[in-house]
Symmetry: C2
Subunit: 219 residues, 2 copies
Amino acid sequence: MTTKKRNEELAYEKVKRAIMLRRLLPGQRVTEEWVSEEINMSRTPIRAAFKRMGNEGLLEVVPHRGAFVYNPSDKEIADVFQLRVVLESYAARLVVPKVTQENVRYMEELLAEEMRAYQAKDFEEFMRVNGLIHTYPAKLSENKFLLQQVETLNQWSDCYLILKDEFYTVPIEKVKSIPEHQCMLNAFRDGNIEGMAEAIEAHLLSTLSDLSGKRSVFN
Amino acid sequence: MTTKKRNEELAYEKVKRAIMLRRLLPGQRVTEEWVSEEINMSRTPIRAAFKRMGNEGLLEVVPHRGAFVYNPSDKEIADVFQLRVVLESYAARLVVPKVTQENVRYMEELLAEEMRAYQAKDFEEFMRVNGLIHTYPAKLSENKFLLQQVETLNQWSDCYLILKDEFYTVPIEKVKSIPEHQCMLNAFRDGNIEGMAEAIEAHLLSTLSDLSGKRSVFN
DNA sequence: AATCAATAAATTGTATACAATCTTTGGACA
DNA sequence: TGTCCAAAGATTGTATACAATTTATTGATT
């Protein structure tokens, strides 16, 4: 039997998904009551979900006013990506020296899945796998605090950046994510610590600079 | 007039303080109802505070069971300190190249306050100033995500590590924090980027190793 | 027409009652 | 005596009513 989820968790997932799918836009006001009617549950679990998203930087919760979908500035977006460089490459440095064949096979499988999702134009699946690739080193590090932070920042990035209209129309050979992830995988496989750290940095900064030219698409 | 705080915020502060002062011990179970009676408010704001502390790693909230004061293993404590090294030295690298005289003066003032608090054996004040010293570079970095993370990890450290029985009895010349902070200040003043990063790393790892020998005092 | 104050409306903040779920206890049965 | 099941107890999860606070509206006054 599939585990019965609490409403609080459901509410969190639904609102997050709404932001990712751009049904809720940055800066938009969202009231507890509205969500409560929309997904048919009381304000109590909605409220808890709002608070959690506030902590994670997805919503801006203003006392007695309401919640607003976070509307990051260019600087804040850059800040998050630079922090991701620091944390994700730190995770890589911890992990690369002791990767096993199993780890490499799993990483290869992730890359293959990502490719399949891309070719099938399955956007949500693509994003899911992308997240798994980026958090995998942190997961292997067994530092739960590091992992949690990397996951939160990845999710934040997903909500505000990766979802481009052009995603569906760019020809596959121009998608830089896939070769850049391949580059990370190679260093990972070879036990090349600095190579992995550099590949992560290059990939994240490349993603950032690609996106910053297209900010008008989002706001 | 002093701003009227929401009960939710009050509950958060009170429970956190109870953990810091070791009135609530690691591993101890804490129920919403008990806190609710203890500080005389309904379960609603308590519950919100619990969730927040769960996100920050101060409580472990188990569905339908209750909340437990987090009881970190040696490894988890080390993990947090190593993460602090990464983040606090990253903040220093960002900030040191552009410190102003004003920044230096403020940092000097913090060190002086810390010394006063120590000599007055004012523990809570000492901890407060210690926190300000460690978060100052992140504050100057103007990366709010970095700052929030550094603050959360500092607070976590405070709750689980720094509060030693011996604090009151150690002779002042043996307290390594103060000279180590002085070392950080010197690099900060001189614009010595790597010196600052190294001083931070040395200080945090020294604190960690001092404490890990004394774990029996806590658990 | 502009400004300000008072009042109404909207929304979050809190309290409380009840439901769902987990844990423990007690006893029947092998 | 040990094991399993059922029922009771304890605690969180959710719904709802009401209070507090902020924002919007209205109208009087200049």
